[in-house]
């Protein structure tokens, strides 16, 4: 079965938990519009590129991802961003592989250029239960997508650097441990690690290159957040470093990930310079 079906299920559960238990300032209509717009945009581009057998799992994931991450004070923002995110997936391609994770791209554009859009990195709180759930559910998804190494590697490097920073600031051990746990249980961080950076379509194909890239993202995210004191380090790091992935792929070509198990479709589309997401 397609691993993305699990991912969609878990995203839906997380979203429901967030809205019900965590007072997300998300309107159901914003979510509905995000999903509808993502699907419509996908349909449009599938027609333009005459692609068949690709389906609508990817826009669902993007729609849920945007609903989980993005907050807006208007109704039009979510559908617009979903449209941009999916269009970006079809149009911003190098060697048939899309450059940006669609939800990541959408959030970046919204924060940079659109009014009334924001991301609440603290929205999940740090309660242990939620963190454990996120890990449990996310790990499963990542495992099935066979890119779970990206999730763990990112967390290990990011949190490792953070621990070193705490040590360097000569916090007492108890304090350092409390602060470390506070960061490590941040729901937004875990969500990023398990649902965004593990996206196999936007990571380098070769394992070595993948690890290098994830390492760079983790270092950049850490620096952004703890040396420059800005929020949402992980999102910005992934977005800004994404253009490096085609370079890694040209230096270290590898086996392209394929959600569909449909090798001939994949190769066929790749030959045309287009790969469906």
């Amino acid at each position: 079965m397609d691993a993305r079906i699990f991912q969609i299920g878990f995203q839906a559960i997380l979203l429901a938990a967030g809205v019900l238990l965590r007072d997300f300032s998300l309107l159901p209509l914003q979510m509905g519009l995000a999903l509808a717009s993502a699907a419509a945009t996908q349909s449009f581009w599938l027609r333009v590129f005459r692609l068949r057998g690709v389906g609508y799992l990817s826009p669902l994931i993007t729609g849920f991802g945007l609903s989980l991450l993005l907050r807006a004070d208007s109704l039009w923002l979510h559908p617009l961003v979903a449209c941009l995110a999916i269009s970006g997936k079809f149009l911003l391609r190098v060697n048939g592989k899309h450059v940006f994770n669609p939800a990541n791209f959408g959030v970046g554009v919204a924060l940079l250029a659109l009014p009334g859009a924001w991301v609440s990195p603290g929205q999940w709180g740090n309660d242990l239960g939620i963190a454990v759930w996120l890990i449990g559910l996310g790990a499963l998804v990542a495992q099935r997508a066979r890119r779970n190494d990206a999730s763990w590697l990112f967390l290990a490097i990011f949190l490792g650097l953070f621990a070193a920073r705490l040590f360097q600031l000569s916090h007492s051990f108890e304090r350092a441990w409390e602060i470390f746990c506070h960061q490590a249980l941040n729901g937004a961080l875990l969500l990023f690690a398990f649902f965004m950076i593990s996206d196999p379509m936007t990571l380098p194909d070769r394992p070595v290159a993948r690890r290098l890239h994830v390492g760079l993202v983790a270092v950049a995210a850490f620096a952004w957040q703890f040396l420059f004191y800005r929020p949402n380090g992980a999102l910005w790091a992934l977005l800004c470093l994404a253009p490096l992935v085609p370079i890694w792929d040209s230096i270290w070509p590898g086996k392209r990930h394929n959600w569909h198990g449909n090798r001939s479709l994949q190769n066929n589309v790749a030959a045309q310079g287009k790969i469906p997401g």
Binding site: D73, G116, W118, G125, Q168, S170, I179, Y229
Partner: protein, 464 residues
């Protein structure tokens, strides 16, 4: 001997590779911990102005304030402010009641609305300690500003400041050195202030006025951790965040809006009932969130309000609060044409010269924190959210009408009783209060005792 205690929740922000953090020292009696510290943070880009208010009530010569700052502050970067600024911001953004009067069901009329504010307790000011060179501590500068003697220190060793403070006769709580170490590691300077009694006598102020700092730093944070060194139960902090673009929230803790805009029993209008309600409600909500959340009490563009709990701040008042982008006082600013009539919707023109090109957004955050639930200093971000929010509670006065006055009267009166019961339950849920005590306060006809479901089933009236 002077006693150094860390009092209340402290305040302040930022540093370039260094942070600006603070704590109050002084003779902190127990009731100080029960009060809320207040802080105003004005920020645009990296430019930051912080004002701190402490309600220290002890002997002025016993009190001192220690605040880590990002750089050696020039004299012009330090100011002694006016407590009135805090009072004005507090009154303007305080949780409020709105009253409505039901139209007479027999005589449809326009309803009127009134508003009334109720504030949360404010705080007072700081003091300082200085002199004596000691181990690794350098006195970078010293000033007298207003009634304060101020020194700016740099410390090279992680315990340098502790040593210096001890040698200066301050009794430092056991774990405050540990709490200071991370800030020293970030190369921060330390701002130490005490009251100059002669200057204070000259100035005629008996209360300690708030200290203000202006500086640039990439860090948008409040150093609540230092004040926890000898914390004694949960502490409260009210932060007024003044920005240009949108609502401010914490980026490393959850920011939650307080339950608001609901109908509550009309007795809240009497005496201190509303204040007590709000205190109880806030306590209950903070407990419900496990003291892990920061609450938004108010967010609004300061150009208008609806209803206004108090007149909006004038440009002069905003500048006093540190809002540096509002026109300078000599720019001939039009004072707000606001008669103090809180009777109806007030939408004054923007109080800024130049057509309101430079808005001021006020976010009022209220946090009750404990050392366990807030292990890190508060980090903030300014969002692009511009949806207004206020903690407003609605009282609906029923119309006075006889049941037989008209055909609509009876169903109306029945609906009022139902509504009042709902309001009582709402109040009990919000405050964790006793529903029966609330019912008693409602001078309503008691809810008729419920008959058992089987009563009358056999046509013989009440059971024997």
């Amino acid at each position: 001997m002077k006693k150094l205690l860390v009092a209340g929740a402290l305040a302040a922000v930022v540093g370039s590779a260094q942070a600006f953090c603070g704590f109050y020292v002084g003779k902190a009696d127990a009731n100080l911990f029960n009060e809320a510290s207040q802080v105003i943070v004005v920020r645009d880009g990296d430019k930051t102005v912080v004002s701190m208010l402490n309600d220290y009530k002890g002997d002025a010569k016993e009190f001192a304030l220690v605040v880590p700052v990002p750089t050696v502050l020039q004299k012009g970067q330090i100011n002694v402010g006016d407590k009135k600024t805090f009072d004005r911001l507090d009154a303007y953004s305080a949780p409020r009641l709105a009253e409505y009067y039901d139209p007479n069901p027999c005589d449809r009329r326009l309803y009127e609305m009134r508003s009334k504010d109720a504030a949360v307790a404010p705080m007072a000011a700081p003091v300082g300690s200085a002199a004596a060179k000691a181990l690794g501590v350098t006195i970078e500068a010293s000033y007298t500003v207003g009634e304060y003697d101020i020194v700016i220190l740099s410390a090279t060793q992680s315990d340098g400041l502790e040593t210096w403070l001890k040698q200066s006769g301050y009794r430092i709580p056991a774990n405050s050195a540990k709490a200071l170490a991370p800030y020293i590691r970030q190369n921060m300077k330390f701002f130490v202030a005490k009251v100059n009694l002669a200057e204070q006598a000259k100035s005629g102020f008996t209360m300690l006025r708030p200290l203000q700092f202006a500086y640039e730093s990439e860090k948008f944070m409040l150093p609540i951790r230092l004040g926890m060194a000898n914390a004694n139960g949960p502490q409260d902090l009210i932060a007024y965040m003044l920005t240009k673009n949108g609502r401010v929230e914490t980026s490393n803790y959850r920011t939650v809006k307080l339950p608001a805009n609901m109908d509550l029993p009309v007795f809240l209008k009497q005496g201190d009932e509303f204040r007590n309600f709000y205190k109880a409600m806030f306590g209950e909500q903070a407990k419900k969130e496990g003291y892990r959340a920061v609450f938004t009490e108010y967010f609004w563009d300061m150009g208008w309000c609806d209803p206004c709990a108090a007149d909006p701040l004038s440009p002069e008042e905003l500048r006093k609060a540190g809002v540096f982008w509002v026109g300078a006082p000599n720019n001939e600013v039009q004072p707000l044409p606001l008669p103090g009539q809180p009777q109806t919707r007030i939408m004054p023109p923007r109080p800024f010269p130049g057509g309101g090109a430079q808005p001021v957004m006020l976010t009022r955050l209220h946090v009750r924190y404990t050392p366990e639930t807030f292990p890190e200093d508060l980090m903030f971000q300014e969002t692009k959210d511009r949806q207004n929010f206020q903690t407003r509670y609605v009282l609906r006065h029923p119309a006075k009408v006889e049941p037989n006055a008209c055909p609509e009267a009876k169903p109306y009166l029945e609906s009022v009783i139902k509504r009042q019961e709902n309001e009582a339950q709402q109040l009990a849920t919000l405050t964790g209060g006793d529903i029966n005590a609330i019912r008693k306060k409602l001078t309503l006809p008691p809810v008729p005792p419920q008959k058992p479901w089987w009563d009358g089933l056999w046509g013989n009236g009440a059971a024997k």
